[in-house]
Subunit: 241 residues, 4 copies
């Protein structure tokens, strides 16, 4: 059983009627509903809860954290960012969605500016699979169409992903590396592009399938924890005075 926590800043849905109409219970609950399944157990957390809902206890019981944020990036407390970062270093999976590209935690993990092009024109997106052998592409056809989405375009200022799984085409002339994986510390990170708050993208069955696949891929591998610091030689040191 993989334990997932879906974190959402949950601000747009309270403030903008247009967004509330699409996600009346918040993006986090739509996502939780959409990915809950055999082998995946889901809870949620939001910005305005104490400690943003990300207490030590909750994170210690989270195998994979999903992150959606946008207008409230600056309101996320640095101490919580540090805590999430440490958990990723210790093996927790992290899935960063859409505008989460500018979240403190994603920028800290990437080490780059994470900027990109964008346009809100509700245009057509095609998400092409470029690594069909990857487990995150399991069951996904050669492309997924989203009829109306916000455009994100290159250059996306991230490190070259360890694995590039999806590349998006946009009607207005841009491309975007939409599905990117990163190994960091003992954790696995999956960035997945779609999900503007005014579009019903998180009800799209293939988008949900990809996120479920991402959850399974990012779950901790239970590897032996590396030992660091000062060490005795494993072999006798020869040739010294």
């Amino acid at each position: 059983m993989v334990k997932v926590t879906v974190w959402n800043e949950f601000l747009h849905e309270k403030e903008h009627e247009e967004v509330k109409a699409v996600y009346p219970d918040g993006i986090h609950n739509a996502l939780a509903e959409g990915i809950r399944s055999e082998g995946i157990e889901v809870q949620t957390a939001t910005l305005e809860e104490p400690e943003h809902g990300l207490t030590e206890e909750k994170l210690n019981n989270t195998d994979v954290l999903i992150w959606w944020g946008h207008m409230g990036h600056d309101r996320v407390d640095d101490a919580i960012v540090e805590r999430v970062h440490q958990r990723v270093m210790d093996g927790m999976g992290l899935i960063v969605l859409h505008s989460g590209h500018f979240s403190k935690i994603f920028k800290k993990l990437m080490g780059t500016g994470c900027d990109l092009k964008w346009r809100e024109a509700g245009e057509k997106e095609r998400i092409w699979t470029v690594n069909p052998a990857h487990p995150i592409a399991a069951g996904i056809p050669e492309y997924v169409t989203i009829d109306h989405e916000e455009m994100y375009g290159e250059h996306f200022d991230i490190p070259a992903p360890d694995e590039l799984v999806f590349v998006s085409w946009f009607e207005g002339g841009e491309v975007f590396r939409s599905g990117c994986t990163f190994f960091r510390g003992q954790g696995k990170i999956f960035y997945f592009r779609p999900g503007h708050e005014t579009h019903p993208t998180y009800y799209h069955p293939q988008v949900l399938q990809i996120i479920q696949n991402g959850v399974k891929w990012a779950a901790p591998s239970q590897a032996g924890k590396p030992v660091r610091g000062n060490h005795q030689p494993l072999e006798p040191i020869k040739g010294q005075a």
Copy 2:
């Protein structure tokens, strides 16, 4: 249930008493015994069987093929190499062990010479985990010791692996990229270094654990099969006479 076929040329064990003493039923049966477990079903195949034991039917019922060869590389029929290659392109996993680095199938998949340094001195090897987040490292400590092994050293003439999981240290002064993954076509390939025929390496519990992890990682992802060839435009083509 992952269906594994262990292929072994099975020549040394018949011809050399020293090898027969270590693997009386052949390397393939030692490996089959060692990795058979809940969720992993294993059969074997050898060089001197008709079609080297790799009939179309058998390969079509194989999720992951494990390959051990050495003195008989040249005796493997090109048509069978082609058949295995096609199955990897279609999604079958492939685990190439030790001297399999010089097999026809591995060289064809890599596109390079696949040469390396070697020395038969029964020296100590330490296999260090350099990507502890990788599923193939699950449950493996920071290093695994093999007391007596053949040395393999750099430069190992392969493409840079898509993921480097293990690096070996040898007593005599060399290093080697010992655990390497490659995505090719829709298939996943894992090269794992240890296993000289005169040493009981395939009874080593952590070596077997790594191969089991490799089997789970390399099993097909059931991704949608890409469509190729000549295509109609998805969007109306504009701007043409």
Copy 3:
């Protein structure tokens, strides 16, 4: 001074009036003319010359080989393919253009099927830079427009490139990894997509700039040649009977 040989099968230009109109002296001469510059010296070779113009002497005097082929892939002699492959292993750079994706040499170096989608509709292509730090992108803006080109689409069945430099957008709805680098043996390989024979793509200044950059990047590094085979220990072997 980097010594370049441009190889072209030079068949379309003799057989098809439409192509001859665009490249009256052949694609090879257009390319040679377009990239010859300070520090880059260029000669040509074609399929119907003896040994396809790729004698041992000529290859030994080539730092970077550029390859354009299409309808004549099968007419390239296996022995010459082997010779070019060996030179790449020994450090010669190789730039494969457009339909060269299906050449024997490229398939041999990649180890995969190298298939892709295609459509001849003379549609618009935008080549986006996704790695602006890469030397092959030097002086290239964030995207290059080609007004009329053949479409190539994913899934492009190659190994994940060591470095992904460009991704193309096509009017009809596809994306393509258009600028890909691969380290193989001691050689460096650059695959670059554009250049259908019916379009004047190899007169496009930015396309030529990218190929020139590719030549400089792919030129041999003069690294020390690795030594392989059986080796004596660098350190005394301890712990043996």
Copy 4:
């Protein structure tokens, strides 16, 4: 002409007689002396200068910054770290040496803990070339021996390097990814392991050759600067109300 600035915290050399004996004018001056050559122009900067010697003007006139730090990591001002980070994002090359793995700038660029094993036993190190085609390996034999160095061992907690060029073997039983490149923003980063302050490593001709090669590789590519933010469609947006 590539303009290099060698930055050194310059503390050990003032405080420890043992270090002063090896580097009487400081590590920065030994390095500057060692890499200055045709095409490479070198200046220095140290921690205790105003703004650590890294004024805006100086950084704007630096193509490649070399960083050596150890006991004074915490004394580096966050504002200067931010300034260096921004310059790397804008295309300045960065070479981080030895104990610089724990510098603020390297940790910020990597996004991980950057921890490792270590042992001060003056033991033998062999630096093996694993990517002989890489320009940083130009002119370097298959391995470089350093007779006495501090050991650094895996797991080294960094992102998988974009290119792995060197792997070290240590007498006492460890391996280490010693030569690692990273593309970040428009900048190129090279981490190179050797150089403990008590050993004369920065007088070693092959160590200096590798750093010179790194300088040439990391120098800015003069790529077009990507444009980001809100964008107009390149193509007419169709299908909207």
